[in-house]
Homo-oligomer: 121 residues x 2
């Protein structure tokens, strides 16, 4: 069973739609990188039981994304903000090279700070 | 029954988790602003049936937001992007007043254009 790294991302968005048990196995498997055998031992269930539980949780997460597409929407926004951050950095450099304006620098700082806030949302 | 305007917003995020019938009544009621009686006539069900269906759909949407909080996350991002746009406008004005740099203006345009892309995501 290959680990699908998109699952971690989808888990971040839709994890709270899973049962507690499903959340546990996904966290063990994807975030803590435990093996099926290790999770089986921790949870006191069979390796096949763990595998089924992960598969079920993955399919719920993927179905949610297929319906709602919110992870992709967020991802698009993040990309935009990274580009904004890069453009603000360019302005900072240009401002340094041209006749320097402290006020422009302050606005650049504001943009970069806002982009940082965003990455925490 | 007071219309809760947040429902339109939540519907935009989570509408695809509703059944087709639930989506229809929410759209008629919130987006097309039809009355319960009008929807009842269109759908060939009782006014009470429409009311129940709307209430059920609203509670699904609100439960989704309570669990996932994605509408609120998105809203926070929108606010950030509006502030970024305002700061970029400020840089534009400052750049005009100070010794003008065409290169700074180009980067400002890029930021404003990216912000416009964002509002379509």
């Amino acid at each position: 069973m290959a680990k699908d790294m998109n699952i971690s991302l989808l888990f971040d968005f839709y994890g709270d739609m899973l049962t507690e048990k499903q959340r546990d196995v996904i966290e063990f498997y994807y975030n803590d990188d435990l093996s099926l055998a290790e999770i089986a031992e921790n949870e006191g269930i069979t390796r096949q039981g763990v595998r089924d539980s992960i598969k079920r949780a993955e399919s719920i997460l993927m179905d949610m994304e297929e319906r709602l597409g919110l992870a992709q929407r967020f991802h698009g926004m993040r990309n935009c903000f990274e580009s904004i951050c890069a453009a603000a950095g360019e302005i900072r450099n240009l401002n340094k090279r041209h006749s320097y304006s402290r006020d422009i620098e302050l606005q650049v700082e504001k943009i970069i700070e806002l982009s940082r806030d965003l990455s925490e949302l």
